[in-house]
């Protein structure tokens, strides 16, 4: 051992240190491949970029085809002799929130040490990191069991097609590292809120606002009565928040509104808070007080919370030490933002989230990546995987 690293660890770390340019090259190709969540063709094209890299490294590939969204992709580095056959999963999504054509308007570029472009930190850089970690382990070994890079297709829209794949993978896994970006200041995630995204539609009755005002039933009035009730469910101390993020309704200024709708975003911390909050939202959504108004409620998507368990803490400690050996120091903080890591944690799989290269301003044109963090983050992740031997994590 030299400076606390085994020879094997040093080989992996040193090789990754030579891969900075290759990482940027792969990242550039990925960012410039348009892959908005609803653009299956584009998301699959981004998948091909990664598949070519994995194949060139001699890694086994497996695709779970999807009809509507992009396919789910799995690259596997096997370990035929390990006792623990449960894979260590490096997870990431390749869809972005941006509209079609965004990479044409804002192709990948580097300025003052920051990389820019759609999805550059959220989370194409994380996918690049995962790919190079798998390549390094393929080259030098040292992983304590099978390692899987899972590349999903639809996280930005609450993972409608990848969720079952993620959950099945999590049930079979030893641990999951999710490559969402670390935040500026080297902060990773200690826990995340769960989220339920729903829609309420109100139906009233159209009438001319002048001549037949009394015949009308205003869906907008009913919606306006519901909105403050939704907001009242917010309990900041408990970590429960309700946001009516989008509304619309009506036909013309002089027609009593026959329809109106809103989209509701619920966040909660404790899994047990979920059902009560959803029931309360549903009750408000489905109960009308304007005579003649009716309404409906649908859940459109959902993320589960990432809880701070003892196993997650042990995984953080392992990563913290590995990061230190890669030359940087990390801290963890709780966030209300949701991610796929909630699904894996809910399956009982130890999960560490936001260990991707450092970035910020996700979902905006100002999204950036700190290029210099690609290599150290890959090193920290590789070392963490290598050290994830039996007994490192407390029994779940």
């Amino acid at each position: 051992m030299l400076n606390g690293l085994t020879e094997n660890e040093r080989q992996v770390k040193d090789w990754l240190a030579t891969q900075g340019d290759a990482m940027v090259e792969l990242l550039s190709a990925l960012v410039n491949t348009d892959s908005g969540s609803y653009d299956k063709q584009g998301v699959d094209a981004a998948g091909e970029v990664l598949k070519r890299y994995f194949a060139a490294q001699g890694l086994a590939l497996e695709t779970t085809p999807q009809s509507h969204y992009g396919d789910q992709i799995r690259a596997t580095l096997d370990h035929p002799t390990s006792n623990d056959r449960r894979p260590i999963v490096l997870m990431g999504h390749r869809d972005t929130v941006f509209p079609k054509g965004e990479p044409k308007r804002r192709p990948f570029r580097i300025e003052n040490g920051r990389g820019y472009g759609p999805g550059v930190c959220d989370m194409k850089a994380g996918l690049v990191m995962n790919a190079f970690v798998l390549a390094a382990l393929k080259r030098f070994g040292g992983h304590p069991g099978p390692v899987v890079a899972l590349v999903t297709s639809d996280e930005e829209i609450a993972s409608p097609s990848s969720r079952p794949v993620i959950e099945a993978q999590a049930r079979a896994a030893r641990a999951v590292f999710n490559a969402e970006p670390s935040r500026v200041g080297r902060k990773i995630t200690s826990g995340r809120k769960g989220g339920v995204f729903s829609r309420c539609e109100v139906t009233g009755k159209a009438a001319h606002s002048g001549a037949n005002f009394k015949d009308g039933v205003s869906a907008i009035e009913e919606l306006a009565r519901k909105i403050p009730q939704f907001h009242k469910l917010t309990d900041l101390a408990r970590g429960t928040t309700v946001n009516v993020g989008l509304i619309g309704g009506g036909q013309t200024v002089n027609t009593v509104a026959p329809s109106a709708w809103c989209e509701i975003d619920l966040r909660y911390v404790k899994p047990k808070d979920r059902d009560d909050a959803v029931a309360a939202i549903r009750k408000i959504a489905e109960t009308c007080s304007v005579p003649g108004a009716t309404s409906s409620f649908t859940i459109k998507g959902e993320f589960l919370p990432l809880e701070q368990t003892a196993e997650a803490k042990a995984l953080f400690d392992l990563y913290h030490a590995a990061a230190s050996d890669a030359g940087f120091s990390v801290s963890a903080e709780f966030t209300g933002g949701c991610a796929d890591s909630g699904y894996t944690a809910a399956q009982g799989c130890p999960t560490l989230c936001s260990i991707g290269p450092v970035g910020g301003k996700a979902h905006t044109p100002d999204e950036f990546l700190e290029i210099e963090t690609l290599v150290p983050c890959a090193q920290a992740l590789a070392l963490s995987v290598m050290r994830l031997k039996e007994g490192v994590l407390p029994p779940g």
């Binding site: 606002s209 002048g210 001549a211 205003s218 989008l246 509304i247 009506g250 933002g337």
Partner: protein
């Protein structure tokens, strides 16, 4: 009393041609095709014609004048030929006749009324003069508030002794002697955007503020005074997971009297936010003044009622919440509205008229033109 004989079949045929020229307010070239047809009809009948070019995305207005009585105060017939139905709506609501009912977009509001006024005026143009000169003003934008025609309406109204508006009659044939004033407003709310997951406490929801504002506006509804408030359109927010920075509402207010308008409009315009960090701004105002039943309007109605009785109609009057171009003239010149055809379902896919109302209503208009002095 000599009455022209209005031939129902030929009137219905003429009206059909007009209904089949779709003319939504926001498609000026379509409205102009409609104006072409009306202009051609009046040209043939011998009226003096003026065409006022459209502007601001609206079609032309048409003025047809009697060749007699130039420069004298006369009778202004006030009509519009734009409709609310979009192009292609005719596929869903083709002109068709079922017994005494004829269907079609704009047939009731108000192509039927314009057509019978044309027939009544034409019978003077053909062979006789009325005591007063007659001007038929047909505008292109009533359905969106007459923003490009208001000045013209007021100008012609000020020159007139009487104004007859050819909006459809109400509830089984009633004419209109009062209309509520119409206030229209736009409300913009600016809050503070924030991520609903990671920084919910930093945001100030514009949507939440809008909900409070809507509830306060709804609170101005008063069945006793007849004030009504409709928040007709709302939108707000960008994504479900963002605390909305902006929200917007379009508001329609109906005000029976000028006094109520003066009391309530400032309240709407000065709406205040309920939370720090949120700004509410309201623009708009009285779009159409209240049309109140003055003694002169009551006298004009009494005259019309007498004429109606002569042809066997027991004419009643009514006040309504719906505004019309009559609101612009009623404050200064006796105005009688609802002189168009009888029908229902205006603005819907069931818009229809009673065919049997065409001839009596044309006759009533004819008699008004013949007797007003």
């Amino acid at each position: 009393m000599s009455l022209p004989s209005f031939d129902v079949q030929s009137m219905l045929e003429g009206l059909r041609r007009w209904v089949e020229i779709e003319s939504p307010t926001d498609v000026p070239e379509a409205v102009n095709r409609m104006m072409d047809a009306a202009e051609a009809a009046y040209g043939e009948a011998g009226a003096r014609l003026e065409r006022v070019p459209g502007r601001d995305g609206r079609g032309d207005h048409l003025v047809a004048r009697s060749p007699w009585g130039e420069g004298e105060a006369g009778i202004l017939i006030l009509s519009h030929l734009d409709t609310v139905h979009p192009i292609g709506f005719i596929e869903r609501l083709p002109f068709r006749v079922e017994g005494d009912i004829a269907f079609g977009p704009g047939i009731c509001d108000m192509k039927g009324g314009v057509y019978i006024a044309y027939e009544a005026f034409r019978s003077f143009l053909a062979r006789r003069r009325s005591a007063l000169p007659v001007t038929h003003l047909i505008v292109s934008d009533e359905e969106t508030g007459s923003t490009t025609s208001r000045h013209l309406i007021e100008q012609e109204g000020k020159r007139a002794k009487y104004v007859l508006v050819t909006e459809a009659c109400r509830d089984g044939g009633k004419v209109v002697t009062a209309r509520k004033g119409v206030g229209q407003f736009e409300m913009h709310i600016r809050g503070i955007a924030s991520h609903s997951g990671s920084r919910p406490q930093d945001g100030r929801s514009a949507v939440r503020e809008l909900a409070h504002q809507i509830l306060e506006l709804e609170g101005l509804n008063d069945t006793k005074t007849g004030v009504s408030v409709t928040v007709g359109v709302v939108r707000g927010g960008t994504r479900p997971n963002v605390i909305p920075e902006e929200a917007h509402a379009e508001i329609d207010m109906r005000l029976p009297t000028l006094a109520l308008a003066e009391a309530l409009i400032p309240k709407v315009l000065s709406a205040k936010a309920h939370r720090d960090g949120v700004k509410v701004s309201v623009t708009g105002g009285l779009n159409r003044p209240p049309y109140e039943k003055t003694p002169k309007i009551a006298a004009l109605f009494a005259h019309a009622r007498k004429l109606a009785a002569e042809i066997g109609i027991d004419l009643q009057d009514v006040s309504t919440g719906g505004g019309s171009d009559g609101n612009f003239t009623a404050p200064f010149v006796p105005t009688l509205d609802g002189l168009g055809v009888e029908g229902q379902g205006a603005h819907t896919d069931q818009e229809q008229i009673l065919i049997s109302s065409l001839a009596p209503r044309a006759t009533l208009l004819f008699r008004l033109l013949a007797t007003l002095s």
